[in-house]
Assembly symmetry: C2
Homo-oligomer: 274 residues x 2
């Protein structure tokens, strides 16, 4: 294993378990080096960035080659400002571009209508799931391609804080809904982002059947402490991981958001999700 | 742009539009070269493959650092055989390993129970969506890392053909459900996989607001023809893209599958998806 990979493992897990077996190459190093970037420099995006990222996104797998996602790019400052209000994140307005990843069966519906065909499968949950998963696979390719070009990204689940407002702002027709956004830009060198620690592999991994690790509680407690240290380093006012995630899930509409309405909005867009 | 990238673009889109602006580097080339592999050689997976792929998966972004996914690895031949029956795909039994990507709020629920906290947000659709999207981002990192090691993968949405059977086989507890599977192995050199063509970028891309391309119908018709040619080359009995996707969506339970039950199964696993 190379020294950069060893360092990246150390930053990601903050422990030494298993790292000796890790296989390393430049693609894997690029993936391990991910960090979410929320502060951007003034440098404009390079020529060809959008075609390149879209080509990598379209190279991801797509269920049955349905290709039921679309990409909407926002660069207009006034619209970015409005999206940043929905997201309640000021950095959204300051990124050179916001990519909105859309689940989108409208193209297929139009072809079906042309041929006089009905698509009853759209009424079932599987369709909303396929659109969301395909959009996510595409987006992750684009995020990684962006990072390989020296750009930084951050996913914006926050565009779902008020999904109806996002749908209205982007003038989305029936059968189209935003899965998430993604801000993109060159990272501000004065505000470098850190690699965020993750749970130990033993907590995530199951073999053959689902069996939580016998020491899961101890492993999570140790992680709580490691993440508490990380938050202190970053001057973020969060005590531990468990406390943070529990708080996040105690109130779906915390801080005046409308995340409880995401299901109803998607249903109104034409997905009954039976 | 490098010659390999030009060739990859040509195989992906089968047209020459825009490719001159494409930015190229080894990571982007790796992403563009994706193909789904359904035929594997006898070569065993390399030592450390699982720790490596899991580390790349955990390096993906995760909503609010919730980390609400798990990875279940199946290598037992009898279990792979049973999964291949659920998937109705013989190659599933022949892959050295099947990775099952799980949405999983059970870890957080356990921590909440320990602290006497309730998590009402789990009742809303956003939670099932976050689990699914986070699993997808993680899986796509792992797929790409696998490809960079010379391995091949294919996503198995087919594990949802009978989701209850998959849940039972893997003994999944409440708040855990399979989003999709992924077969992995060294590609059989005698059965090389092809790059599958995708819709032109002009059909996928929107700027500022959602506006279908004025020539969308013509662009899709031309793509129908290109994909028809591809299917002929591959000796696959499908006439065109639109016909294929319409057929796929006319009967949710085509061929005796139970995809109409995916929503009910996920609800029984503890996600009301309000």
């Amino acid at each position: 294993m190379t020294t950069p990979t060893k360092t990246l493992w150390q930053e990601r897990y903050r422990d030494d378990h298993q790292q000796e077996r890790l296989i390393s190459n430049p693609v894997i190093e690029q993936i391990l080096a991910h960090r979410s970037v929320r502060a951007y420099s003034d440098q404009p995006l390079p020529e060809g960035w959008l075609e390149t990222l879209l080509a990598t996104a379209q190279s991801a797998a797509t269920s049955s080659n349905l290709q039921v996602w679309s990409l909407l790019v926002v660069e207009d400052p006034a619209r970015k400002e409005r999206l940043s209000k929905i997201a309640r994140q000021a950095h959204v307005a300051r990124a050179p571009a916001i990519l909105v990843w859309l689940a989108d069966f409208s193209r297929i519906q139009q072809q079906a209508t042309k041929r006089g065909a009905e698509l009853p499968a759209l009424d079932y949950f599987d369709s909303a799931l396929i659109g969301s998963v395909d959009a996510a696979l595409a987006a992750q390719n684009a995020a990684l391609a962006a990072e390989s070009l020296g750009l930084g990204t951050v996913y914006l689940g926050s565009l779902r804080n008020d999904l109806q407002a996002t749908v209205d702002e982007l003038q989305l027709p029936p059968l189209v809904f935003p899965v998430f956004g993604m801000a993109i830009g060159y990272p501000d060198p004065d505000k470098p982002a850190a690699i965020k620690p993750r749970l130990p592999q033993a907590v995530i991994l199951h073999r053959e059947t689902y069996q939580p690790h016998p020491q899961q509680d101890e492993l999570i407690s140790a992680f709580d402490q490691r993440l508490g240290e990380f938050y202190q380093e970053q001057k973020i006012n969060v005590s531990d991981w468990s406390g943070h995630v529990i708080e996040r899930l105690q109130d779906i509409d915390a801080g005046g958001t409308a995340r409880s309405q995401i299901g109803p909005v998607i249903r109104r867009q034409g997905y009954p999700m039976r």
